[in-house]
């Protein structure tokens, strides 16, 4: 029999109401409150109930999460449920916080239920499965039924359908899918075109997501005192590609010492080349400085316009690389740059 753990707040965990919302996290090796309903509906046994006050989770999040993860360290479980949180904002955020942490730490499916108005939906729908739920506890049975049905599918290894069919909030995770009726793309395209021409409603298969911007870093005040690093996604590496960076869908990056170089020598000199498979390599192989301008930076360094060109340049391949991998590599490179006291970066991409 597979095992499940359920997370509830102080109210549904039968501790009490708003007056005990500061209740510290606890774990019980039994089915408390709504956990009993889960146990009835699941093809798994609910072995533990985790209970935490909403205010405790809200105000001392890190402590709460750490405590609960510590509770679960020695618990054997296959699936984790949190909520349902209905329209309760703090409860929804709590379910999201702990759900996300459990997912990351133990890599088990995490499922919750929240009303669309619950702020937890927007914040955590990318991290865990969240199903639309009712406004209040009157919908308890319906909401738990929905998420346990889905949980059972996962537990039984059934094929999962797209979000729109299973019913959970979309997570921004897109996979290819063979249409049941196999309607070929040309039919879908003509159909969409005729609808668009006739002013009828149509549904794009790729809705354009909103742009996600980061805060703009301040300008450098005095370049002549600044160490600048070159980073590239153009796949420039030593000819033997010592870090075995992939030509596409890269998961690796390398850093290469240029402290003794005035420029990058080329492939013919057995120095640097590109391993990027997404563009014609001829020009970069003949002169890698067209991608990583070590020569120009050296000149500016000599002229005193910049303080120093960082001793290493960093390289990976941009083509086909997942955003997740690119973000991880970006973080790792940023860490290196911080450790090396670099202040600014020129990133060249191909």
């Amino acid at each position: 029999m597979k095992k499940a753990v359920v997370y509830l707040n102080q109210f549904f965990g039968q501790i009490g109401g708003e007056d005990v919302a500061d209740h510290a996290p606890e774990i019980r090796e039994e089915k408390v409150g709504a956990a009993m309903l889960y146990n009835q509906l699941l093809d798994a046994e609910v072995t533990h109930t985790v209970i935490c006050g909403d205010n405790f989770m809200g105000s001392r999040t890190e402590e709460a999460v750490e405590t609960i993860l510590d509770f679960l360290k020695d618990v054997d479980f296959d699936i984790f449920f949190a909520g349902p949180a209905f329209q309760a904002g703090r409860y929804g955020m709590a379910c999201g916080e702990i759900g996300k942490a459990v997912k990351e730490e133990f890599d088990v499916p995490v499922i919750s239920s929240m009303n669309i108005e619950n702020p937890g939906v927007e914040v955590f729908k990318k991290d865990i499965y969240i199903f639309p739920g009712g406004h209040s506890a009157a919908k308890m049975r319906d909401d738990v039924k929905k998420i346990t049905d889905f949980g059972n599918k996962i537990l039984n290894g059934e094929k999962l359908l797209p979000a729109e069919k299973e019913g959970y909030y979309k997570r921004g995770i897109r996979h290819q899918y063979f249409l049941e009726d196999e309607t070929p793309a040309y039919e879908r395209a003509i159909d969409m075109l005729l609808k668009k021409i006739n002013g009828e409603e149509f549904e794009s298969e790729l809705p354009i997501p909103e742009l996600d911007l980061v805060e703009i870093a301040p300008a450098i005040e005095d370049l002549s005192k600044t160490t600048i690093a070159l980073v590239t996604s153009g796949g420039i590496v030593p000819v033997d590609n010592p870090d075995k960076i992939q030509s596409a869908s890269a998961t690796r990056w390398g850093k290469y010492d240029i402290s003794a170089m005035d420029k990058l020598d080329n492939r013919e000199d057995l120095a640097f080349k590109t391993i990027h498979a997404g563009y014609d390599p001829a020009a970069a192989d003949a002169d890698p400085n067209v991608v990583v301008p070590v020569d120009a930076m050296r000149k500016y360094e000599k002229e005193g316009r910049i303080g120093k060109l960082h001793d290493y340049f960093y390289s990976t391949v941009g083509t086909g690389t997942t955003q997740k991998e690119a973000a991880r590599m970006g973080k790792e490179i940023a860490q290196e740059l911080q450790d090396a006291n670099v202040q600014a970066v020129i990133l060249t991409s191909t």
């Binding site: 703009i216 060249t348 991409s349």
Partner: protein, 79 residues
């Protein structure tokens, strides 16, 4: 990648040919390059011309690093 570096607090300028791509991925300071396979030096031109272009555009990138901006900005190049 550019976002992670900027998030970590570095002032970063992205030199890219495909400015629409750089904008979509969220770069803030951008300097255009001349093509994808050879961002900073067209092999059909002389070595001197390639050098001048590269030196100039890297210089624009350095200017970009010292410029305060309010929103995503593409810096103009002359050659």
């Amino acid at each position: 990648m550019v976002k992670e570096i900027e998030k970590a607090g570095f002032t970063v300028v992205q030199m890219a040919n495909l400015i629409p791509v750089a904008k979509t991925v969220g770069a803030n300071r951008m300097v255009p390059t001349i093509s994808i396979p050879y961002p900073l030096g067209d092999p059909s031109t002389s070595k001197e011309e390639q050098w001048e272009l590269r030196y100039h555009r890297v210089g624009v990138a350095l200017d970009a690093l010292t410029t305060e901006i309010e929103e995503q900005k593409v810096f103009d190049v002359e050659i």
